[in-house]
Every structure is written in structure tokens, then in C-alpha cells.
């Protein structure tokens, strides 16, 4: 069995780690390219949302790279993604590919399905159920450490005094983390990473923008789709916070340790604009954007795929919230037609506006 997972944030990192622990074959899904997108679009129904089209193209890349089992997640959510796994199977079958697919449901909502899928993984692995669960927990711990590196990096890159110092710290940190195996080693690596980032030369006194990045997972996290927003904004003197980290989503009980907002807090922060969860990550993004506004951020960027259900609701609410709370919130809708120059122009306008407001204040 050689499995591949969608390429979004730290999923790949965690999957590779868990496969190494369980002795499963793992194939890294190749990087997104224009060809990935075009092939995905070609075989997708017109009204699929953009991440689904991309994932279809990306699955083909993974299968061609030697994977034979596609692992993906669904969940008892209201967002249309919960039916994607099944359609992915049907469409790729129709296109003549041969593969197995395992669609993991959230263990909290569909425990029976989760266990059934776990069994499929178990059959191919060395260990029993206890070792599988233990390995998953360890990989998740490592994934959190990985995401924390990212969180620290985006908070520093905009104010570093030596260009590239943050990127060096990131590279060193991942090096430290890669050898960590047991829970203790991972925790030690995390501490060492904290010290390493403490040594990055920064100038907190330099004028800088504080910008929040929110949005649908793939669009907000993957640099291919958002103009590499983290570096792009850092170059223009912005320190960032992001609402979503992949390891948070896999952490049970809604604790979200990396972003630091648990589900109860999110529910409270989203008030009074949103009083109910709306599937996907709509509520988290609304909560985060409002919280950034309350904490006095200079701007919020919101990326989402064209016609995304939860994020379109979020955008509707942002229009009102931006006015009430006096903060620029730029919602950018992305699909296969999106041009980089158009995206860049609008982001430049946002940065100019944020600087002008900051200098006027």
C-alpha cells in the first residue's frame, strides 16, 4: 500500500510521519502546478468548488507518482466537501484510474465509519489498533510543532533586521524536529525551536503592519493559490497571524492549540455577527477576523474559493463588520480564472490603505 494525502498545510508532514511509524508506504503528492489545476478542472463538473477541482488534479499527480491509495477526510459537515470523497472516487474511476480510496469521517460524528476506515489502514500496517492510535497521536503532536514553526515565522518575518534570518530559523527548526520520535523528543525539539526563534534578529520598534490572514483552508494556507501571501506581506512590512492550522483541525475536542482559540472561545468571539456554526470553517474565520479587529490589527485578508458556502456567508458578515469596527477586510475569491496581477493589485491597495491609516493615526 502506498498512500497519498491531499497537499494542504501540514497534512503531508503528519501523514509521512505516521506512515513511517506504521511501516506504510507513503507517496508525497507533487507540488501544485498549472497542469494540476488544468487537469483537475477538465474532469470536474463546472460547479464544483475550486479546492475540489484542484484536489482531483492533484490526485492524478499523486497516482502518477506511484500512489495506489488515496486517503482523504470528509466529516459530518454542512459544507459540500463532505460528499467530495465519494465523487472523487466516481470521477477518477470514470477517467480510468485504478486506486483504493479511504475517506475518513470525523471520529466524533461517525465513530463506526472511522473505525471501519482505521481497520483498512490496520490491515496494511505492522501494529495493532493501539499502536496505530498512539502513532497518530504522536504524529499529530509533531504536526502541531511543525505548525508552530509556521506561526512563529509569520509573526517575525515582517520585522526581521537581516533578510532571510527567519527562513534560516525555519530550516533549522525543521531539521531539529525531523529527528524527534518520542513524545519527549518532540517536546524537547519544540523548546529548542522556541530558543532558535528567540535568536532571530528583529526590530519590534520598526513601524510595521499587523495583518490577519483568514479564509478557506487550502486558499489561506497553500502559497500556490494566495500569491505566497505570507512572504508577500512580510516583504511589505507586515507581521501576520493566521486563523487556521491543519493540525488544529485534526486535534480532537476543538482545542485548536496552535491558533490558541478553543471552540467555546470561537463561538463567543463570532458574536454578535454570527450566532451559529455554518459548516466548513466559516465560524472560525468570522471569530478570528473580529478578534483581529478588536485587538487593533491594521487589516484582515480573507481568501476563499469562488462560491464557497461558509466563506460567502463570512464575507457577507465582513461587509457589515468592517464598517462597524472600522478595519479594512479584503475578501478575495479565487478560482482557476484568477489572475495573479489582479490579486496583487488588490492586495497592494489594501497594504497602501493600511499604511495610510496607520500613518494618519
Amino acid at each position: 500500500m502506498k498512500l497519498a494525502v491531499p497537499r494542504v498545510g501540514s497534512i503531508g508532514y503528519m501523514a509521512q510521519d505516521v506512515c513511517a511509524r506504521l511501516g506504510l508506504g507513503y507517496v508525497q503528492t507533487p507540488e501544485y502546478t498549472e497542469r494540476t489545476v488544468m487537469r483537475g478542472v477538465a474532469i470536474s463538473p463546472e460547479l464544483f468548488c475550486f479546492p475540489m477541482k484542484v484536489l482531483l488534479g492533484s490526485s492524478i499527480d499523486a497516482l502518477e507518482a506511484g500512489a495506489d491509495t488515496l486517503v482523504t477526510v470528509a466529516g459530518f459537515g454542512a459544507c459540500r466537501f463532505n460528499y467530495f470523497g465519494e465523487l472523487q472516487r466516481r470521477i477518477l474511476e470514470r477517467e480510468g484510474y485504478e486506486f483504493e480510496i479511504v475517506v475518513f469521517d470525523s471520529p466524533r460524528d461517525a465513530p463506526a465509519d472511522f473505525l471501519r476506515n482505521l481497520k483498512a489502514v490496520l490491515k496494511a500496517s505492522d501494529g495493532g489498533i493501539i499502536s496505530v492510535v498512539r502513532s497518530m497521536k504522536l504524529s499529530l503532536r509533531k504536526g502541531r510543532a511543525f505548525d508552530e514553526v509556521n506561526r512563529r515565522a509569520i509573526a517575525l518575518r515582517g520585522i526581521e533586521t537581516e533578510e532571510g534570518a527567519t527562513d534560516e530559523a525555519v530550516a533549522d527548526s525543521l531539521e531539529m524536529l525531523s529527528g524527534a520520535w518520542s513524545a519527549r523528543e518532540i517536546d524537547e525539539a519544540r523548546e529548542a525551536i522556541g530558543d532558535r526563534f528567540g535568536a532571530v534578529p528583529v526590530d519590534p520598534g520598526r513601524p510595521h503592519l499587523r495583518v490577519g490572514v483568514t479564509g478557506e483552508l487550502m486558499m489561506a494556507i497553500e502559497p500556490y493559490f494566495n500569491l505566497d501571501i505570507e512572504r508577500w506581506l512580510a516583504k511589505r512590512g507586515a507581521v501576520l497571524e493566521r486563523s487556521l492550522y491543519m493540525s488544529d483541525i485534526f486535534t480532537p475536542m476543538g482545542r485548536n492549540p496552535v491558533s490558541g482559540m478553543d471552540d467555546a472561545e470561537i463561538e463567543r468571539m463570532a458574536l454578535p455577527y454570527l450566532c451559529h456554526e455554518v459548516g466548513g470553517h466559516g465560524q472560525i474565520n468570522v471569530a478570528a477576523a473580529l478578534e483581529y479587529a478588536r485587538r487593533g490589527f491594521d487589516a484582515v485578508v480573507h481568501f476563499f474559493p469562488f462560491t464557497c458556502l461558509p466563506e460567502v456567508i463570512a464575507r457577507t458578515l465582513f461587509v457589515r463588520a468592517a464598517e462597524d469596527m472600522d478595519i479594512p477586510i479584503l475578501s478575495l475569491s479565487i478560482d482557476e480564472q484568477t489572475g495573479r496581477a489582479g490579486l496583487q493589485t488588490r492586495l497592494e491597495a489594501l497594504v497602501d490603505l493600511a499604511w495610510a491609516r496607520k500613518n494618519a493615526a
Binding site: 459537515g77 460528499y83 465523487l87 475517506v103 455577527y273 450566532c275 460567502v312 456567508i313 461587509v319
Partner: protein, 315 residues
Amino acid sequence: MIVGVPRALLYHQYGGSWTAFLDSLGVETLLTQATSGETVLAGTERADNETCLPMKVFAGHLIQLKDSCDAVLVPRVVSQYHRTKSCPKYLGLPDVARALEPDLPPVLDPRMDLADRRARWTSDWNALALEWGASRGGAALAVHRMKEALREIEPLPSRPVEGGLRVGIAGHLYNMFDSRASLGLLDKVRDTGAGVLTIEQVSRHQVRRQLRTLQRKIYWDFEGRIVGGVLHWNRTACVDGIIYVSSFACGPGSMIGALLEDQLGREDSVPFMNITLDEHSAEGGLITRVEAFMDMLKRVGVERPRTRGGGGVAR
């Protein structure tokens, strides 16, 4: 006290129960007029440009209520059936309503969570009735009347199907019942002399039986009914053609549209047409497509008489 109710979205499904509740309390109800061209235009200007047609229609109805009532009733329909979830648009509807129009009177958002067998959601409605000054008995009666009305949701008035071609039309009630949004599709098909079947005429039991043949359960209630109904029509050979009506940018609709196309393609299926509606849909284009579809059905009927049995079903 006048309570405004937009005649849009789930009003077409649960409106009877909402008005039963309001009537029982003796609250004056202001229901917006049927959708017109202006409603769609006004809603399109107001709503987010990436939402679906029914949301734009909803926005159009909502802003009509701005100055003419003391409160607007926009129930938050969390789920519609056991073990299902609503579309995100319904989950956030009251919040969107507040954001769309800041000068709106207070938006009342009691929950409806029909998946909950213990019906704990009715406490929201009870509290609402008490807030309006109803006695405890009066409030309980109003909630009871509402639940009674929920039990009997009226099917579309269907004409008896005689001879001719029979066409199954599958789509959301807010499009089918709204002759502006669906551009009078039902009547246009009937005018060609065909008999029309709609999704509400397929029983829950039949829907469940068909859905069990799919590998993955569909978590949206109405979309599940559409899929189950369409498969039932096709597999029992009770229609000559199927028209599936969805709205542009409808999330669940886009998924089950793809699912139906794939599944029907794997079976020996009657002709299937997908019509996507948005605010730009024009009547002329619709007529052309319906006519072409009906002509095709006639020819298929000549060339391939109906001999399909149950048969094995690939999935």
C-alpha cells in the same frame, strides 16, 4: 405588533407551520408578495454576488419588510430530518439577514432542528411566544399547532398523469413553488401536454430505500430526497425523462448534480437534463431547452419502447 415573513427559501417548505404558530398567538403576520422581477433585481443588488439565486430572492423579500413591520421572522433551520444537516446558507440565514440590511427591525431567529427527536428546539419558539405576552398555555398551544402543521406538508398540486409523456422534475421547493425564480418551468412542461411528477410525491420510504444503494450517505436532507426520488423514478421506470433544476452556486446542488449524472450514467437511464437557474436566466432560453428535451423524449419513446426491468445496478 406586526411580524414580517419573507416568502422565500424555506418558507415554501415550512411556511405553513410558521403561520400556524403566529396565527395561534393572534400575531398579525405580514407575508411578502410573490417574487417579481423587481424582487429579484433588488435582491441581486443587495446580496453577495456569489450566493445562489434563492438567497438573492430572499434578500429581495427581506428588504421589502424594512419599514412595514416590527420584527422579521427568519427561523434558523439547523436540520430537516433525522441524521441530516442543513445547507450552510440556512444555518447562517438570520445572521446574513441582519448583515444585509442594518435598518431592518429585529430579526427573530428561533431554531428548527428537526433531526432532534426530543424536539428541544421548540423551547426557542416557546420563549418567543412568552416574550410576546402569551400565557404559558397559549405558548404551548402555539408550539403544538406548529408541530401539527409540520407533520402535514402539502405536496405540490399534481394533475393526474394521462397517456402522454411523463416527466419527473426534481428541484428545491423554493424554486419550484416560485414561478418567477423557476420561470414557470412546471407549467411550461405541462403546456407541452406532458404529465409532471415532482419530488414530494415520492415517499420517504422509497427515498430511503434508494439511498441505501449508494456507497456514501447524503447528509443534506432535501438533496437526499432529490437523489432518492430521481433514482426511484428511473429504477421503477415511472417517468420518460428527468429534469433536475438547481441554482447556480448551490453547493449541495452541485454535488448531487454530479452524483446523479454519474449514477444515472452507470445505469440504463431515461434522458436526464440539468437546468441551472440564476438571476440572468431568460424565459426564451428555458423554453428552447424544454422543447428540445420534450422532442427528444418523443423520439426516444419511438425508438426504444419501455422494456426496462429492475436489473442489476452498478454503483
